[in-house]
Symmetry: C2
Subunit: 493 residues, 2 copies
């Protein structure tokens, strides 16, 4: 291991520090000069781009189109929807002026008091208000519906305690905003997009998720129902990974968006919104990585295969270069992204550690003996297993290995979660288990008061009321009152 | 023509109104509730996405990677580079607070005076300052160079007079920011990216451009040299379509970014930045479109081919549907994006006008007689020419037709420009010609004073000192002083 890597804290020592170390050392992101705002570095951004591209394809396949709405929102718009303003006004960046001027003492620039805005503008924390004020002009008749728009954008929420990717003042996300003629259609859309998110999480991020609905306390401000996917991190904490909201007619009423239906009657429009963010980067990192660094699912790895030569002299390197060139070309033909690193200013050991840190799924190494024997060493990042194989048809082998790694990472995360979901029947048991972490399925009487009490006493929240699984009724572990079904608790990011 | 289209102003009547009508009626963009900020509608955004994808591929082919830097910039950062602050402080959105609270009279929300920021933050008008403050941490040695980063982002400049796409308070763009060990390498990078922009403009947007350098007056605030591509719009005005800046060591000095060179000596880093924005949408629209609507180059058209059926009854439609399905499948196989519009609630005439308005390059129409004769009507949007052809191998014909349209649109724009570049030798001639529009090549004595005088008296600016073309020296048309070569003048957007 190269010297630099010795500083990566072990998960068992301090999970939180391990995460921060990893994000910074693997060149994913770093803090910026602006409080709570991160710089997403090229390697981190390359992973995010792969996520974006895949999600965007899935949105388009389900009939959505992209658009772009303003960054700034008039302050008064936030107040239109009573719950929405409660949820978002407390933590937003406010633009009050539109000009700076040279300070009278010449020491730089100051805000020009003459350039005060009549109405302050808010940097969007989410775009329901500006979008529904726009949809008002787009919708007159049932023939204008549905509208199925998505936007990729930056948003800002003035979080007090921030962590790279997981909670930052500015973050990148997509937000879908759809408008429908009927309640049923809007509800179906909210569920459809939840399923798209779950599909993406499981089949691309290799991260198993539990789909469910949020309790009233945890619902999006302004939603009638919030659907969520919840994942379990290696430290036993939950991470909400995507939400899809059925907004009812709340925003249509707030912005007076009505349409004339087929019977020529005016009706308010039904709405959904749904989003995932750069938070998914945090989920991806924490789901699979280990004490050596990142472990990336091949489907989202910017570099899927790295090839490193080991050589005694320039002549030998030239021979390896030539041999590897053929392998690289054939891997690319199979659609595999591959990097051949024959840089001379770094030793093989440094390269090995660096690509392990960066989570490259497969490493191939060719040395002098390999050259003689027509062999190559293959290492898979997920298990760190090495084997030496013939070069014949190595490309096909690597392709299958990548598919196997994708599956294996998912299975590992799935097994971890299976071993860390607990059915608990008493509040004492609950308190004991929550300290150890994991998902807990327990009965709850359905009241916000009991939920609040559990949160205050244990720091655990209801992650969701699962859409699938055990629906047997029972008694609330806290109050003994009737419970319709077990709900999912955890401490959460 | 459908009724809605009658409202599209003719170019000859009012070019400016024609442009605004077209942007709105073709569903490209519209004004939002926030002064100067636009909503980019799905059809407009789909064109922008095609531009983005192509440019992004070209950036990556030239070795660049994407990253993301904060939206907000500490006010003091702007002051670090003297010219930069002059250029950008006057028109920026200033964040002063980070919280709203409920008004004491309960009438909505007000800014919470307790949540005032210690230092105000600026919404980025461009990101040199925040990026160079970051690069300081990334660069120690010559081995860390070059850094070749690009970001796709929104930026904000508080323009007083705005026009959709051409000049908006918020706009979308990409900004490349590179760091180099030598002056030569940075200069070469600035020129390389200018050439990428010119390639994109000419071969994708079908828009001929003149490459050149800006005069000192028109230079980017903080640059040593600004390279530009300039295009001529149909009304005889110029549109600056992309700029690439050689920044020298200005930002490295402002943010103290030094590296240790191969001789172990500290040196300031050399820089470039380069950008194109949603302004290119305006350039695209104005370069090719006509009184019937948009004319899009096939390479950037979201829909390249539309197929419309004309039928008497459901039985006939079913037969046309079946016949067209084969054509659609074969067009898709050729990588052509095609839409079959058999919607029953709109008449063919309405569809024809709508797709003309939206600039779909090729329209195919199949009616009852075509069905019998195995023929189809082909219309090309650029010339509006129609012909009836056999369906046999129609896909290959359409593919070639799209390539021909791409070429023809470029040639038309090129010929228009050639007919509207004038060599002028006296200031009187200049004043006369500038009223009629077009590019003017004239001698200038190289001083800012003369440039200012020309601008004050004629509203014309020096668009660039061309990199190619006639380099014969002469005498300034205004002062008679020596001129190194003719420079390019125009009134500009």
């Amino acid at each position: 291991m190269a010297t630099e890597l010795k500083d990566l804290t072990k998960r068992s020592e301090n999970y939180s520090q391990w995460y921060n170390d990893l994000v910074v050392k693997a060149d994913l992101a770093e803090q910026s000069a602006v409080r709570g705002c991160m710089v997403i570095k090229p390697y981190g951004y390359a992973i995010w781009e792969k996520m974006q591209r895949q999600l965007d394809d899935m949105f388009k396949e389900t009939g959505h189109v992209n658009a772009y709405f303003p960054l700034l929102i008039p302050k008064s718009f936030l107040s239109r929807e009573a719950e929405h303003v409660e949820g978002f006004a407390k933590e937003c960046a406010v633009v009050t002026h539109y000009r700076l001027k040279t300070a009278s003492d010449g020491s730089g620039v100051v805000v020009d008091p003459a350039a005060r805005l009549e109405e302050e503008l808010i940097i969007r924390p989410t775009s329901e208000t500006i979008i529904w004020s726009t949809y008002k002009n787009w919708i007159q008749s049932y023939r204008d519906l549905p509208i199925l728009c998505n936007q990729w954008a930056n948003v800002m929420r003035w979080e007090m305690r921030t962590r790279l990717f997981l909670r930052t003042a500015e973050f990148l996300w997509q937000e879908g905003h759809t408008a429908h003629a009927t309640r049923e259609e809007a509800e179906a859309e909210a569920v459809k997009m939840l399923n798209v998110y779950a599909d993406f999480a499981e089949n691309y991020m290799a991260m198993p998720v539990i789909k469910g609905v949020k309790s009233a306390n945890e619902r999006f401000a302004g939603a009638v129902e919030t659907y969520t996917i919840e994942a379990l991190m290696q430290d036993g904490k939950a991470l909400q990974s995507g939400t899809s909201h059925f907004l009812g007619q709340n925003f249509a009423k707030a912005f007076d968006v009505q349409f004339v239906n087929k019977d020529n009657q005016p009706e308010y429009v039904w709405a959904t919104s749904w989003g995932v963010s750069t938070r998914l980067m945090g989920a991806l990192i924490m789901s699979h990585s280990d004490d050596n660094g990142l472990v990336l699912p091949p489907k989202l790895a910017p570099i899927q295969v790295v090839i490193v030569p080991i050589y005694k002299n320039a002549e030998q390197l030239a021979k390896i270069d030539e041999k590897v060139a053929g392998i690289v070309a054939r891997l690319k033909e199979l659609g595999i992204s591959v990097k051949y690193d024959n840089a001379e200013n770094k030793r093989p050991g440094f390269k090995f550690a660096d690509y392990e840190l960066k989570g490259v799924p497969v490493r191939l190494v060719m040395g002098g003996r390999d050259l003689e024997n027509n062999t190559i060493e293959v290492m898979r990042r997920d298990t760190l297993e090495k084997e030496t194989r013939t070069c014949d048809n190595i490309e096909q082998y690597v392709k299958e290995l990548l598919a196997d790694i994708q599956k294996n990472i998912y299975r590992k995360a799935f097994d971890f979660r299976a071993a860390n979901i607990f059915k608990v029947d008493t509040y004492d048991e609950f308190k004991e288990q929550i300290e150890k972490g994991g998902f807990i399925l327990a009965h709850w009487d359905g009241t916000p008061e009991t939920e609040e009490r559990i949160k205050d006493e244990t720091k655990a929240t209801i992650r969701c009321i699962p859409l699938e699984g055990d629906t047997t009724p029972g008694k609330c572990m806290v109050t003994g009152k009737p419970s319709a079904r077990r709900v999912l608790f955890a401490r959460a990011y």
